[in-house]
């Protein structure tokens, strides 16, 4: 075992996919000699040739649409949008073609395209470099949307995304690129569509994903040390398909739920999670499902981003509002809770 960064895990996943399947192509801006602005494609052009790891013109709709044409010829394009907000020019191609082509053609033309998007903030980025854009993609039928929070998931989910016959929007939290884990690659974790319980707890479920998983785990440690709350942390990993079963089992066990998302809260992924939890676990809940999200503002300038980002204090303050004086009705809890 050796310490492996999230970025290195992604690079290795791309490398292994290129090695194993000649139909896999990597396309994007600066993915060639430079190795991408975050170095995720480092060395791929050198080792696989500029024919397999391809620098494209600087036009995101063009990149996405070009991938559609290649997918029609049986290729598996992996395209990189350099930053979240720079993916917006490709929106029409993603939503109207990549997402819908299988449906329009009664499955005759599937779109095995992976769209990698470095997203979210916490890195001191200037405007248009820190958006949490997942809400636009999860709202679009036909797309899978995944967001790994650990180096092992970064590798495993990317391999699975590339092998998928459906388009996958692969959202990489930039703040986690240099997170490390003891890891041997290749590795395989839970499949797309399955959430993971990152920390077991008895009192409250913190449902989160992507860049906020690390914050959730830190908050859980503080909560245990200072408040005597035993927080369970569920990392969704996959936003579409959504793992209702794991979330539901956890909330039925703890009786309280907080949804944590970095994105602005209004009508976002966090709202969907909160709605699903109350629809499914109403009688197990001792308190309303609360959300901790980014503010409903355009992503702030670097010196103000700490005000916007859900931090440990805001998470703990929210947990504190879960009506702790009332006892939850746990008679609806599952008979056996898997470890």
């Amino acid at each position: 075992m050796s310490p492996t960064t999230y970025a290195k895990a992604l690079n290795t996943a791309l490398r292994d996919a290129l090695t194993e399947d000649p139909d896999v192509l990597v396309l994007g801006e600066d993915v060639g000699a430079l190795g991408g602005v975050f170095r995720i494609t480092d060395g791929l052009t050198r080792d696989f040739g500029e024919d397999r790891c391809v620098d494209t013109p600087l036009a995101e709709a063009g990149i996405a649409g070009f991938a559609v044409g290649l997918a029609m010829q049986g290729f598996r394009p992996v395209v990189e949008m350099q930053f979240d907000a720079f993916g917006y020019p490709a929106f029409e191609q993603v939503v109207s073609h990549i997402a819908k082509m299988r449906n329009r053609t009664r499955s005759a033309l599937p779109m095995p395209i992976t769209i990698r998007i470095p997203y979210a903030g916490g890195i001191g980025g200037v405007e248009h470099h820190c958006d949490s854009s997942e809400g636009y993609y999860v709202h679009t039928p036909g797309l899978h949307v995944v967001t790994p929070a650990t180096p092992a998931d970064a590798y495993s989910l990317l391999r699975e995304a590339i092998a998928s016959d459906d388009p996958v929007v692969f959202m990489e939290p930039k703040s986690q690129y240099y997170a490390k884990a003891e890891l041997e690659l290749p590795t395989r974790t839970e499949p797309i569509g399955q959430a993971a319980v990152r920390r077991e707890g008895a009192d409250v479920t913190l449902v989160t994903y992507g860049p906020q998983v690390a914050a959730a785990l830190k908050a859980a440690e503080v909560a245990a040390a200072e408040e005597d709350w035993d927080v369970e942390v569920v990392d969704l990993r996959s936003l579409v398909p959504f793992d209702d079963a794991t979330v539901e089992a956890s909330v039925r066990k703890t009786g309280r739920a907080v949804v944590l998302a970095e994105a602005q809260g209004f009508a976002g992924m966090g709202a969907e999670i909160a709605a699903r939890v109350q629809e499914r676990c109403f009688h197990s809940l001792a308190a309303p499902v609360l959300r901790v999200t980014g503010l409903d503002i355009p992503y702030p300038p670097p010196k103000l981003e700490h005000t916007h980002l859900p931090g440990i204090d805001r998470i703990l303050d929210t947990i504190a509002r879960l009506q702790w004086d009332d006892e939850p009705d746990l008679t609806h809890a599952p008979q056996e809770v898997s470890a």
């Binding site: 070009f66 459906d166 569509g193 398909p241 959504f242």
Partner: protein, 375 residues
Amino acid sequence: MSDITELLPCPEPVQLLAADGSAVDPGEQARARGYAMPAPEDLLAVWRGMVVGRRFDAQATALTKQGRLAVYPSSRGQDACQVAPVLALDEQDWLFPTYRDSMALVTHGIDPVEVLTLLRGDWHCGYDPRATRTAPQCTPLATQAVHAAGAAHGLTRRGTDGIALCLIGDGATSEGDFHEGLNFAAVFEAPAVFLVQNNKYAISVPLAKQTKAPALAYKGVGYGVRSEQVDGNDPAAMLAVMREAYAHARSGHGPVLVEAHTYRMEAHTNADDATRYRTADEVDEWTGQDPIVRLQAYLVQQGHLDDHRIQEVRDEADDLAADLRTRMNAEPTVEPLELFDHVYDRPTPQLLEQREMVRSELDSHVTQQEMESAR
């Protein structure tokens, strides 16, 4: 960098047949590019395709008036642009059509009922794109330009000499994807041919409000794309120019942009009122440019076509229309549960729940009907 004179279109739209059907000299640059009068059998095939295609188009318009189609965008008047480029394709080539290119799809050999599935409304794309090597008809504007560039590049990567033909309208040349498609195709030297059917209107907006370019064909030059303009109502010139464009792309010289100057004789669709934005005089003027009349006159003059053959092809076209009428008058069956079959390779748990809800609604509906009929 290419020599710019190699990229520039001919100064005037290439013409081989005048409106009265007489052969004309296309000019020095056109001759140098190899545009010559095609062989009689090729022209006869284009003529036949146009007669059948126009009959199909008229039948589809009639079906719309009868309520069988939700809407139909006619391509009458653009018949030469619809037929000659498609007939010149090879078997391994791919076609990227828009909603106005139904006639081109019928010419391509796709079952007319499958062509009209989109507009009848029982599914989106009615034909199998892989089997027919034809992308779904594109209703978002110009997005198919980048698909064609990618597909053309893919055909080359696969080691074939296939090309991609992208059909596009004059209005869509204002869209960003048109430019990105041209640029990507050029940078990757992809064998894509972009045919702009400049029918003078984007629904109601005339070309003058769309561009200040001297001709749309000049838009290729900035991308290093070989460009050409042609009289889109001259079937002989259309065939000659497209063949040369395909040969250029197929031989690894990169994409070609062709602008065909033509005219949309009908309104945008049956739901449009063209009298609000163009004059009857203008339409009359273009009636005199009819591509079928023009080619038929030439073929008759040259002794390649007689009344007997003309009648034969008209009968063939009527038969196709009658068959289409009969089949389109049968109410299509739709299966609500199929809505869940093609969203993903495997439906998500959430879709399975919704499918179950719809299934039970359908079951209870059937039970209710059975009870009512039992009474």
